[in-house]
Symmetry: C3
Subunit: 153 residues, 3 copies
């Protein structure tokens, strides 16, 4: 174990993976914030906050475009950040140069922060599309190294 | 490798991560159970079970509140259990005390079982909300240790 | 670190995990392909491609059965491939025979390729259901070994 904590590439991976997973987790309270301010819930038991009138509560069982936008952004995070974490961990074990590894981790994590801002604020394309593609390419580049270094079929 | 299997914190992580991932996987057959008993499917090819009449089959392409509830619970698991697994693995490598690590793993896994029961049975709030928050705080606490122990930006 | 890269089971896991995660990532551009060819988008800012007329753009904010099918397949991947990756990694650390491990990894990854083809082409059941069940059983089998080898509650 101590071995891993003395390995700079593994430390860098731990740092960036934790940061980008925390960013992904932040989408949950953000969804909650929009649900509460837009009064838009999915579950009957979630509409009880303060209101007791069943009619008022029924109106809160609605979809809201701001809530749905944050949820789509969260889903896109799941679809992209989890592959990065899995492939990034295996990549760290292939023993890349620290500078090359840092470049991959920084570009990926940076691209996902730009993606989230672009998505949540609905910035004009190609900001969202481009940041998504950059993240994908970074993960592909690490997958290429894993498959060329560790291939055992 | 043998090194890792002699490390109690890693063994504890393996145990609790496997249990909570199995719990998450259980949501899939539960969705299937509700789809079949409520006759509510998303795909035309899934409606062929026993029925041949196209009219009967078309009626089964519907959404059902019980199915949607289980699916939302499953989605919440993906959004919370996967961050726990990623950050928990990195946390195990930082060499925490076994008792502290066990506390984190037990609280998180316990909170997710309570969350699932609260969600599926639609128990009144704050049972679902509170168990979700407790799980989030546990993961944040482990992330804090990872970033203060292994930071390399 | 070098230790892990000399371990054949870990190399096999790295290879198959990377392949099946890349397969999962491939669902994103496939969704994009169907969104563009079916002109079906979720976000206003995504409809600007070539079109400037707001009326034409508004029509593109629609759901499409082909897009939804690929998205459901992607979701099923998240729900099944991520548990495989987590449990498969812990399984690799329990020191199984290479041949047994390879059997698990090959059956799982094969089942998910069959699942994707069955889902996207809407092949008649039980092709999709059976490939899903085979993948689940493979992951359960690895989880069983993890819990019987590494149990520390």
């Amino acid at each position: 174990m101590a071995d891993l904590m003395n390995n700079d590439v593994f430390l860098a991976f731990s740092t960036y993976a934790t940061i980008v997973v925390l960013k992904m987790m932040f989408m949950s309270p953000l969804t909650g914030y929009f649900r509460i301010t837009r009064k838009a819930f999915s579950n009957w038991e979630d509409t009880a906050m303060g209101k007791k009138n069943p009619e008022d509560r029924k109106k809160m069982l609605q979809t809201n475009p701001d809530v749905e936008r944050v949820r789509r952004c969260h889903q896109n995070d799941l679809e992209n950040i989890i592959p990065f974490v899995v492939i990034g961990l295996l990549y760290a074990f292939t023993g890349p140069d620290l500078s090359t590894a840092l470049l991959h981790f920084r570009v990926f994590v940076g691209s996902r922060f730009i993606h989230t801002v672009s998505y949540v604020l609905a910035l004009p394309q190609p900001s969202k599309g481009l940041s998504w593609v950059v993240g994908m390419i970074t993960t592909f580049s690490m997958a290429y190294r894993v498959l060329t270094t560790a291939l055992l079929l």
